[in-house]
C-alpha cells in the first residue's frame, strides 16, 4: 500500500512540475519558475502566478488575449498568425495568450473568461458577428479595448470593437476569380473546408462575381479530416469539365494538388493563403497563384493598435478595416515570399 501511495504521490508531483515548467513561457524567468516550483504543488502554482504577473511583462506590463475560432494554432495559417502575435508582444513587452475553440458558444465563453480575468486588451476573430457582439460590448463596458481580426471586415463596425485587421473576403475572391478566368478557367470548383465560417462562403461568392460568368461549384469538405477531403477532391476533379480549382486553405491546397495529379486531371489550381509547400508548388508550376492575406499582420497589427490605444488613445483605421490582403503570389514573386515563409512571417 505504502509503495503504491508513494507512486501516486510521485506521479501527481511530476505532473504538477511538468505543468509549472511548461507554463512559465519562453522568457528568461523560465528557470526561476521551474526551480521555485520544485517543492510542493502549492508553491509551484504560486510561482506560476508570479511569472504570469511579473516575469513575462517587462515594458508595458499589459496582458492581451487573442481568441480565435479553431481548436489550436497547429495549422499553417494560425501558426503564422501566432508568430506575428508573439513577435509584436515581444517588441512591446506584452504578456500574450492565444487560445481558441471552433464552437461559437465556447469561443464566447472564452471571451467572458478574459473579461473576468481583467486582461488589458482582447483580439478576437469574428466568424459570427451577432453571437460575439454582446461579448465585445461587455468587454468595452469593462474598459477592455477589443480589436477584431481575420473574417468580419465588413461587419466589425457594428460592434464595440475599436478596429479590425483582416482581408475583405469578397474583394479578395473577386480578384482571384478574375485572375483564374484570365488564365483560361471556364468551370471552377471552390471547396469550402469549414461549414460554419461565413468568410469562406464570401470568398467563393467573390470568385463567382469575379469569374465573369464562369460557373463556380461549391464543395463541402472538412479541414479536420484532410484524408477524406483528398478522396472527395479526387472524385470531383475526375470530372473533366472542371478546369480550375481554388482552395481556401493552404493545407487543403496540397491535398487538392495531389488529388489533381492522381486523378490525371489537367485542372489548374489556385489557393487562398500561403504555406511553404504552396510556394514550392508555385515554383514547380502545380499551383498557378496564391492569394495572400498576410495573417502575420493579423496577429501583429492588433497588438500595436491596442498598445497605442491604451497608451495614447490612438485609433487606427478610422472606423474602417485595416486590410492585410489580398496580395497575390505567383511565379514572378515567389522567391522573395519564400524567405518569409521559412521564417514563419508569411
Amino acid at each position: 500500500m505504502i509503495k503504491k501511495r508513494r507512486l501516486w504521490g510521485a506521479l501527481v508531483l511530476a505532473l504538477v512540475l511538468v505543468m509549472a515548467a511548461c507554463s512559465s513561457g519562453d522568457d528568461d524567468t523560465t528557470t526561476s519558475a521551474a526551480t521555485a516550483g520544485g517543492t510542493t504543488a502549492t508553491t509551484s502554482a504560486d510561482a506560476t502566478t508570479t511569472t504570469g504577473d511579473g516575469g513575462q511583462v517587462s515594458q508595458t506590463g499589459l496582458r492581451f488575449d487573442l481568441i480565435f475560432h479553431d481548436k489550436d494554432a497547429s495549422g499553417t495559417f494560425w501558426g503564422v498568425m501566432k508568430v506575428g502575435f508573439d513577435d509584436a508582444c515581444d517588441v512591446y513587452g506584452v504578456s500574450c495568450n492565444m487560445i481558441g475553440d471552433p464552437d461559437i458558444t465556447k469561443q464566447a465563453a472564452l471571451v467572458d473568461t478574459s473579461i473576468a480575468n481583467e486582461v488589458d486588451g482582447i483580439i478576437l476573430t469574428l466568424p459570427n458577428v451577432d453571437a460575439l457582439r454582446d461579448a465585445i460590448q461587455r468587454a468595452a463596458d469593462a474598459g477592455i479595448p477589443v480589436v477584431t481580426i481575420n473574417s468580419g471586415s465588413d461587419v466589425f463596425a457594428t460592434t464595440a470593437a475599436i478596429g479590425h485587421a483582416g482581408q475583405d473576403e469578397f474583394i479578395a475572391g473577386q480578384g482571384a476569380g478574375a485572375r483564374l478566368v484570365a488564365l483560361g478557367a471556364t468551370n471552377i470548383l471552390c471547396p469550402i473546408h469549414e461549414p460554419n465560417n461565413a468568410a469562406l462562403q464570401a470568398r467563393c461568392d467573390g470568385v463567382e462575381a469575379g469569374a465573369d460568368g464562369a460557373p463556380v461549384k461549391r464543395l463541402q469538405i472538412d479541414v479536420a479530416n484532410l484524408d477524406a477531403a483528398f478522396e472527395t477532391l479526387k472524385t470531383e476533379v475526375s470530372d473533366e469539365s472542371i478546369d480550375a480549382v481554388i482552395t481556401l486553405n493552404p493545407d487543403v491546397s496540397i491535398r487538392a494538388r495531389d488529388a489533381i495529379a492522381e486523378a490525371g486531371s489537367s485542372a489548374m489550381l489556385a489557393t487562398f493563403d500561403l504555406g511553404e509547400e504552396v510556394l514550392n508548388s508555385i515554383e514547380a508550376g502545380t499551383i498557378v497563384f496564391a492569394v495572400d492575406q498576410q495573417q502575420y499582420l493579423q496577429g501583429h497589427l492588433p497588438v500595436i493598435a491596442l498598445v497605442l490605444n491604451i497608451a495614447n488613445g490612438h485609433v487606427i483605421g478610422g472606423g474602417n478595416a485595416i486590410l492585410t490582403g489580398p496580395g497575390f503570389v505567383d511565379a514572378t514573386n515567389v522567391a522573395q515570399v519564400k524567405e518569409g515563409v521559412a521564417a514563419q512571417t508569411r
Binding site: 473576468a116 453571437a131 460554419n196
Partner: protein
Amino acid sequence: MAENASTGVDDRLIKAGILKKVLTRPEFGSIIGAIAVFAFFSAATENFFSVKAISAYLNPAATLGIMSVAVALLMIGGEFDLSSGALIGGLGITMALLTANAGLPVWLAMLLSLALAVSVGLFNGIMVVKTKLPSFIVTLGTFFIIQGAGLGFARLISGQTTIYLSDEFANSDLAKLFFASTPFSGVRIPVYFWFAITALATYLLLRTRYGNWIFSVGGNAASARAVGVPVSRVKIMLFINVSVSAWLVAMFNTFRFESAQIGTGVGSEFEFIIAAVIGGTLLTGGYGSAIGASIGALIFEMVRQGLAFARWEADWFKLFLGVMLLLAALLNAWVRTRAQRAMS
C-alpha cells in the same frame, strides 16, 4: 443489490449511518475532485477566486450540465447518445430556417423544433429498442444524419451556414427573458435551469418508481423485464429526454446569440459523456447520479476556463486539460474505493 441477496441476510433492512450514506454516493468522489480543482486554480491564478470569475465558468457549465444530467440518466439506463451534441446545432438551424426563411412566428418555430427534437429522441429510442443494435452505432448514424441534414437544408434554403436572427427575434422579448436573460451578477438564466433540472433528476432517480426503473433497466434489462418494468418504454423516454434537453440548450444558444450556426455542438457529445463519468456514472449502466453529472460538468468547465485564466501557453492547453481531467477522475475513483472500503 445482487451481493446483498447472495449473502442470504436481508441487509436492506439494516439502517445505514448518514456518514456511510454520503461517502458511498456515486458523486462523492467528484465533489472532492471539484473542490480540488477549485482550490488549485484559486491558488494558481489571480482572478479565478472572484465573484466575476464564477459566472465565467458557471455559464458554460450550465449548458454542459443540463446535457450531462440527461445523458447520465440515459447511461444509467444502459444506453449512449452520440447525436446529442449535433442535435443542439441542428435544432438551432431548424429555428433559423423556420423563422428567417419560412417566415413562421417564433413561438411556432419553437414548438416545431421541439417536435423535431422529440421525434429524433423517439427515432433513436425505437431504433435501439427494436433493432437491438448498440446505441453507440444507432446514434452515430443520427449524429451524421443531423449534421448532413442541417448543412444541406441550410445551404439549400438560405444559402448560408450562419443565419442571423436579430430581426426575427426583435419582438420576442418574452422568449429572450425566459432563455437569454442575465437576472443576477453575470450569472445567466441557464444556470438556474441547470440547478432545477439537477434537483428534479435527482428526485426522480432516488425517490420515484421511475428512478428505480432506470437503474434496473441499465443494471440488468432481462431481470427488469421479468419483474414487470417496461424496459423499452423507459429507454425510449430517456432518449427523448436527452433530445428535449438538447432543444432547451439550442433555445438558450439561439436566443442568446440571435443566430444559428452550422457545427454548433458537434464534438460536445463526448463532453456530456465525460462529465457524467467524472460524476460517477458507469459506462456499463445501472449506476450513477444526476448531481454527479452536474459536478462533472462543473469540473470540466472549471478546468477549461481555469486554464484560460492561468494564461499558460495555449499550445499545451489540451495536454493540461487531459491531465487535469485524468487527475480529477483518478481522485474521484480513489476516494470512492477508499470510502466504500472504509465503510464496509
